[in-house]
């Protein structure tokens, strides 16, 4: 069970993910609509884990990930990705992402990844 910040530019994806996380017993402490917002909310809310979309306006997920990591090297960030974005995710992992979940989201897989990353 963790406090989670969702960073995604679409309300649709945030809502889907929020419900999955909520049903898995997690607490969504905040939602951010782009990378910049994500970094700001991370600093403000200090969540246990961040789900980070990659393709976003203003600041993409990789840049936001780097900013958060610079602020808190222990930050646990799970990338939200899609088939075809392997290179992006690899880049994210090299920059310190701790996991990834693939759209379309499958609730059991999402929850397993979140749980594993939280307990690591």
């Amino acid at each position: 069970m963790g406090k989670i910040l969702i960073v995604d530019d679409t309300l649709f994806m945030r809502t889907l993910l929020k419900n999955v996380l909520f049903n898995g017993g997690h607490t969504v402490v905040g939602e951010a609509v782009d990378g910049e917002d994500g970094v700001a909310k991370y600093k403000e809310l200090k969540p246990d884990l961040v789900t980070m979309d990659i393709v976003m306006p203003k600041q993409n997920g990789i840049e936001a990930l780097k900013m958060i990591k610079a602020f808190d090297p222990a930050a646990k960030i799970v990338m939200c990705t899609a088939v075809g974005q392997e290179q992006m995710v690899k880049l994210a992992i090299k920059s310190g992402a701790k996991g990834y979940i693939i759209k379309p989201f499958q609730a059991p897989k999402v929850l397993e990844e979140i749980k594993n990353v939280l307990s690591a």
Partner: protein
């Protein structure tokens, strides 16, 4: 699918925004604006793809995916943008719009035929990628971003590594894992934090390039111990981990499954509710719900009036105070509802560049289109009625206004025509101006056409002023276009535009200079539902006159009236103003003592009334649903005492 039914509305609403963004940026791209444009297109497509995949709309997902692939080539610079490609992509975005319509009405987008466009995109893709690339890259994995690997592979034992215990590990990624190479990389990164990886197979480069078959073999030097290494390597989608100390050369450690299904159900707890109140600052509401609330507010406004009257009649002081409080709340509620219902004009404006482009392309014209003031807000009901007239005017401006490049050259104008739409708020009104630097309206041709159509006689035409002639354009059945075009034709003329604008309680005005262009100006009330009216009485009957059109209230001196032709006028402060008797509406009255001077644009007239009862905010209900449009009356309102009172429509009266 059914589990996602609840998200359908949200999906459609958000996808429409992304679709709009897509079209807008495609047009920018066509004009040669590359900065951010490609990223924006990519982002919109990506979001559309992801959302449609989540909803299970595979036809739409497939289309977006194919478009995205095309853009990944453009983005990494290995393909050029041509106008053919833009046309194809716009056609594809039209399909997306059709799909969204289909999905909105309960479908799943599979009815929309996409074969032709998808094939064309794929053809383009192969054409572009074959000459430049080695051909092994399918559409699925075209490189998106060049990864700059800043952690060079550590091969062989480095200084001091011999002193640390070494382990050989064999890690298998679960067969159903969707991105095995990414998972492998995650494992390597996790192990990196515990020690030094001495060798790894497949190599990091190979994994980076996606060459990974599911099993990772590596040796690592680490002080962390076997258990810590096992934990670091384990995680989601890891099937087996074998680990042995490099010193021991015994039989392999039996495989151990770490992929024990962790029951999710057990974790379903309601602990989250405490923090749930945070963070939700915006929400989307179905417009029908808002309409319903608006109706309730309107009822409340009517009933507030009724309560006020009762309190007045019975002179109950306590009730007066209570009503004053209710009054304040109702007014505030009303204001807030108005604000909530306001949406920016961009909702319509965003579609216009595409319209201009299509018409210009069809007519072989060159047009620069500028929009300003799209953030100006209007009530949703006004917005709904404004869409078609605006589209029509825009089409007209390009189709009839702007000349062909050759004609423009001959006239000494820049080859590219200029069309501009701007909107701004002016006190109580929203003004939308649409101007072009085209040929302007040929007044003589308008007159000739009107004579030909039998709208006016040749004699009358002689006496017509320019303004009067332009008014002819708005007559039913008038069209100056020599031939009916597919684009602006459609069988509607400016008369329909005018009617639509008037139905919104707005007005339309045209200024034109031959050879230099035309300007259409729409004046619209930002909201229609609630208006300030003056309640007057004539012949014992009540009428409402919108305050916004009243310029003066004066004493009516019968002896100051003069007959002019058929009508009657009065001299008021050196101004001759026509008198408008409302006999037809309310019957004759002998006791008219007050004159209400109303104005519409530059025309004034005055209405004699018996008495003025006061000013009131009322809800105007349109007549159209039961008796059709009546000239001079915009609707009715119900006063506090239950009487139904017509509200005058000054625009059509004057």
């Amino acid at each position: 699918m059914s589990e996602f039914e609840a998200y359908r509305g949200l999906f459609v609403a958000e996808s429409r925004e992304n679709h709009e963004n897509l079209v807008r940026n495609l047009l920018l791209l066509e004009e040669g604006t590359y900065e951010n444009t490609i990223d924006e297109i990519f982002r919109s497509l990506h979001t559309l793809k992801g959302a449609s995949a989540s909803m299970g709309f595979s036809t739409m997902e497939h289309l977006c995916h194919t478009m995205e692939d095309v853009f990944s080539l453009i983005r990494n610079g290995s393909a050029e943008i041509s106008s053919d490609l833009i046309n194809l992509l716009l056609a594809c975005s039209d399909l997306i719009e059709q799909m969204l319509d289909d999905i909105e009405s309960g479908g799943d987008s599979s009815q929309i035929q996409t074969g032709e466009q998808v094939t064309a995109l794929k053809q383009w893709f192969t054409d572009q990628s074959n000459p430049s690339q080695d051909g092994t890259n399918g559409m699925e994995d075209s490189p998106v971003v060049q990864s700059n690997d800043d952690s060079p592979e550590k091969t062989g034992a480095q200084n001091g590594e011999e002193s640390r215990p070494q382990y050989d590990m064999r890690i298998t990624v679960a067969a159903d894992c969707q991105m095995k190479d990414v998972r492998a990389m995650l494992v390597l990164e996790n192990l990196d934090s515990l020690g030094t990886i001495l060798s790894v197979h497949p190599s990091r480069e190979a994994i980076d390039e996606g060459k990974f078959d599911g099993q990772l073999r590596l040796s690592i030097a680490s002080d962390a111990g076997e258990e810590a290494l096992r934990t670091a390597a384990s995680g989601s989608e890891i099937a087996t981990i074998e680990i042995k100390s490099a010193a021991q050369e015994e039989e392999p450690v039996p495989e151990e499954s770490v992929d024990a299904p962790k029951t999710v159900e057990a974790e379903k707890k309601q602990t989250a509710t405490a923090d749930k109140t945070r963070e939700i600052k915006n929400l989307r509401v179905d417009i029908h719900q808002l309409d319903h609330i608006m109706n309730l507010v309107e009822d409340l406004v009517i009933n507030r009036g009724r309560l006020k009257q009762i309190a007045d009649q019975h002179r109950i002081k306590e009730m007066d105070e209570a009503i004053a409080m209710v009054d304040r709340s109702v007014s505030e509620l009303q204001n807030q509802m108005m604000i909530i219902r306001m949406i920016p004009l961009n909702h319509i404006f965003n579609r216009l560049p595409r319209v201009v482009r299509d018409v210009a392309q069809y007519d072989n014209k060159e047009v620069e289109f500028v929009m300003e003031g799209g953030e100006t807000e209007l009530d949703r009901s006004v917005m709904d009625g404004l869409n078609d007239p605006l589209l029509h005017l825009i089409r007209n401006a390009v189709n009839h206004g702007i000349e062909s490049p050759e004609e423009r050259k001959r006239a000494g104008k820049p080859q590219k025509g200029f069309v501009k739409i701007s909107a701004y708020r002016d006190r109580d009104n929203v003004i939308i101006q649409l101007s072009d630097d085209g040929a302007g309206i040929n007044v003589n041709r308008v007159k000739a056409k009107a004579i030909e159509k039998g709208l006016i006689t040749p004699e009358a035409a002689e006496t017509f002023t320019t303004d009067q002639a332009i008014d002819l354009l708005f007559q039913p059945g008038f069209s100056t276009a020599d031939k009916i075009s597919d684009i602006s034709g459609r069988g509607v003329g400016l008369d329909v535009v005018k009617k639509a604008i008037e139905a919104l309680k707005g007005t339309i005005r045209v200024e034109t200079t031959q050879g230099q262009g035309s300007r259409f100006e729409l004046l619209l009330p930002p909201t229609m539902a609630i208006v300030d009216v003056m309640i007057v009485k004539i012949n014992g009957k009540r009428l409402g006159i919108p305050i916004s059109s009243i310029v003066e209230v004066a004493n009516f001196q019968r002896n100051a009236t003069h007959r002019i032709g058929k009508g009657e006028a009065i001299l008021l402060r050196n101004e001759v103003i026509q008198i408008l008797w409302l006999t037809e509406l309310v019957g004759e009255s002998e006791h008219c003592e007050i004159l209400i001077v109303v104005q519409y644009q530059k025309r004034k007239c005055c209405i004699p009334v018996d008495i003025v009862e006061g000013k009131q905010e009322v809800v105007v209900k349109p007549l159209s649903s039961f008796i059709g449009n009546t000239r001079g009356v915009s609707g009715v309102t119900i006063l506090g005492d239950g009487t139904v009172v017509p509200v005058l429509d000054v625009n059509t009266l004057v």
